[in-house]
């Protein structure tokens, strides 16, 4: 019925073609570069997105989708792909030591150099270009032959006094070099670190400054042999074969640079099958549920009580304005304020409580008090929202329903309990569940208030008593820096996906959102 015929003039089709063509060329280059590094998942995802873009912008049949094209492409890359990529990471060993694709790791290993015992050493003299930006070395080998060495081009054996090379001094070092200035020793000392980072000559025959007097020809330490899929140490002849993303020798020696490899469901077995892991994780899940439930329950209650009690109180506008003051303050700032206020040394809460009760609870290292504090802070953050929403919902309940209840002889409490509350819950149920889901993953309150601490003792990986799953995942992936384990973090994320999906299915049963998409 609201069908609109779309006619696209040819001129705009041509403009489209040009723009889309340019985007496609850029995308092809990007995809090729990703595949060249062995980044197969990302390369494949971008290929799919590129094909999609090409289709909708070049086939007239898909014209209406053009309005959504850029948005959909971005959403596929930044929202959809990460979901699938999380699944992929959860069955890999990705983490510290295994951060690269295999090809990247091989490239990295092959770029490592070593100084062979039989290799040539040279004495060197540095020349600096007139603009000071580049350097050239004059090298003299054991036989006394002089070479001109520039970064990126092969060594040239030159006789001093020919070409741009000026006449030599008594040590066979040219006094001048056209366009360059010879640096005396006292001027090379300050730049020695800079110089020793430069590879002179052309790979694989490069020369590097190894000391103030000597430069040495370096050779690649590792070579990848594709035929036997192994890394060979050129120095020792040792062969390293890939074992689950780590190049390992016969004797069990491992190379420090590994790659991302498939390891199956081991992470899942790890936390589902290992008792030392499963127990604390279950405890965390219980606290996670409790935290989300208490946050929603108390915020809703405060909002409801405030709405109903102050409904007809003179001056309720002022009260309302003051009560929703927490709302516009950015969440992070609110939490930092609470964290500061409750600080035992600098906050003002501790002295007050001490003067009244004689002692002040430890909001940051006692399990119970920390948990109470995060719920309290979260209620402070969210009750204004519930207040506003509840007030709106109650106003939307038709007055006749109350009149009917009055006829039935309902008292004040009875009317609230039998009429207002059930109706309100029915109106607000989708919102309450959405809020539960949100709080189930409420990283900010947990992490900013106390980083999920205090720590649980004797756990395999660091876990905290106030940690919820998402803050635990964060710490696993980004905080415990020397043992980051993206694979395990992703596996727990997959668990979170399932929990959130379950919650959403429940929410959809209460909401009309699905029908609205018709």
């Amino acid at each position: 019925m609201n069908k609109i015929a779309i006619v696209i003039p040819t001129r705009s089709y041509l403009i489209n073609l040009a723009i889309v063509g340019a985007i496609l060329i850029g995308a092809m280059w990007l995809i090729t570069s990703l595949f060249a590094q062995g980044l197969v998942p990302l390369g494949s995802a971008l290929s799919a997105i590129t094909v999609f873009i090409a289709l909708i912008y070049l086939r007239r049949k898909f014209t209406p989708l053009r309005w959504l094209g850029i948005g959909l492409a971005l959403a596929m890359l930044f929202t959809l792909y990460p979901l699938f990529y999380t699944l992929y990471i959860s069955v890999t060993n990705m983490g510290s030591g295994h951060l690269m694709a295999k090809q990247q790791a091989i490239n990295r290993l092959e770029s490592e150099l070593y100084l062979p015992e039989s290799g040539a050493t040279y004495s060197w003299t540095a020349f600096q270009s007139a603009d000071g930006a580049s350097y050239v070395l004059w090298l003299i080998d054991a036989d006394g032959t002089g070479y001109l060495a520039r970064p990126g081009s092969p060594l040239e054996a030159v006789t001093p006094g020919t070409g741009i090379v000026g006449a030599a001094d008594e040590n066979n070092i040219p006094l001048t070099l056209e366009g360059y200035e010879r640096l005396p020793l006292n001027r090379t000392v300050p730049i020695i670190t800079q110089l020793s980072a430069i590879d002179f000559g052309e790979a694989p025959n490069t020369v590097r400054v190894s000391s103030l007097r000597e430069a040495a020809a370096l050779q690649p330490k590792y070579r990848y042999d594709a035929a036997q899929d192994a890394i060979i140490d050129q120095e020792t002849g040792e062969i390293y074969r890939p074992v689950e993303g780590t190049f390992t020798s016969e004797s069990g020696e491992e190379l420090p640079i590994g790659y991302i490899d498939y390891i199956g469901a081991r992470h899942f077995q790890n936390f589902l099958g290992n008792e030392g892991f499963r127990e604390p994780l279950l405890a965390m899940l219980m606290w996670n549920i409790t935290f989300a439930f208490c946050s929603v329950f108390f915020s809703f209650c405060v909002g409801l009580i405030v709405t109903i009690l102050f409904e007809n109180l003179p001056g309720k506008r002022v009260i309302r304005a003051l009560l929703i003051i927490p709302w516009p303050i950015p969440v992070l700032i609110s939490i930092l304020i609470w964290r500061s206020m409750l600080n035992p040394d600098l906050g003002f809460v501790a002295p007050i409580l001490e003067s009244i009760f004689g002692s002040s609870p430890d909001w940051f290292s006692n399990v119970g008090w920390t948990r109470l504090a995060v719920v309290m802070v979260n209620v402070w953050l969210s009750y204004p929202y519930f207040y506003v929403i509840t007030a709106g919902a109650i106003r939307s309940i038709p007055g006749e329903i109350y009149d009917a209840a009055l006829v039935d002889g309902a008292s004040g409490w009875g009317k609230f309990y039998h009429v207002t509350l059930p109706l309100l819950l029915r109106i607000m149920m989708p919102l309450l569940i959405a809020s539960f889901t949100f709080n189930f993953n409420n990283f900010n309150v947990i992490y900013i208030f106390n980083f999920g601490l205090p720590p649980m003792p004797n756990t395999i990986v660091p876990m905290g008593y106030s940690d919820i799953l998402i803050s635990f995942v964060y710490r696993l992936a980004f905080v415990t820096s020397n043992v980051t384990n993206y694979g395990l973090a992703a596996a727990i994320t997959v668990l979170l996906f399932l929990l959130v999906a379950g919650l959403v299915i429940i929410q959809l049963r209460f909401t009309k959102a699905l029908k609205e998409t018709a």
Binding site: G412, A477, A513
Partner: protein
Amino acid sequence: MDAVQNHSTSRAVSMRKPISPRKLVRYFLLYLLAVALILFAVIPALWVVSASLNPAKSLIGGTFFPAEPSFVNYEELLSSEFFPYAKWFVNSLKIASITTVITVFLTSLAGYALSRFRFQGRRVLMLAILVLNVFPSILAMVAIFSMLQQLGTVIEWIGLDTHAALILLYSTGSMGINVLLVKAYVDSIPVELDESALVDGATPWQTFRHIVFPIMTPIVITIGVLTFIAAYGDFVIARVLLKSSENLTVMVGLQLFQTDRFDQDFGVITAGAVLAAIPIILIYIPLQKYVIDGLTAGSVKG
């Protein structure tokens, strides 16, 4: 419970009746409760302002209201050598503004198309948007981090520690629900408007740009305000992606600063918190209605 009775009877009964003693007691108790709740609501906000105006380095033994308020903390904040606060502030405003423009642009187009055009896969697409929307970006942060690291090896300006990556993530993060909000709004605009414009020879783009888009202003403002507030206030995604000090947003900077130097720079940090809250409060006060509308419709607290 009495209040509920009051709630309905007051519709009928005039308020001009003399106040009974029983009612007086109830009012007294209610005001007492109101004052207690207001204190709970207001004290943290008051305290942070008061601490930021307190020139003393320590609040131990200090009064709630500083004896000699001064702006010395604010001056120190903007000239501090430990942290580029002004830079963080500008970063945050820049990132939130660009995110808002991109989001409004993309969601208006998409919402309009989903409302007005009929095409194959439209229903599936909307269902997909709805489903995708339920997984917040924070859940996939490990994957996002790794993906941006990989993208950054090829295109540096979209990798980790770049504002471009952050902006794209924010723009797509809540796109789903926003598109559906726009779509619902456009649904309420009579399609005859479009049709008459098309009959008059306007292209679909012209119809959208000159006829429908101006009518969409309320929903556009709602989405713009919500997006700005969310992008400006985000902590975790910025914390994961940004590394170098001069790239940080004001939220990440404040958190790091509070964690590291709260003992030493108590006043300066509270000054930073107050300043950082100001843009949102300035937007919020005149546009409160749009925020509430948007949150009610979307059932999400950002």
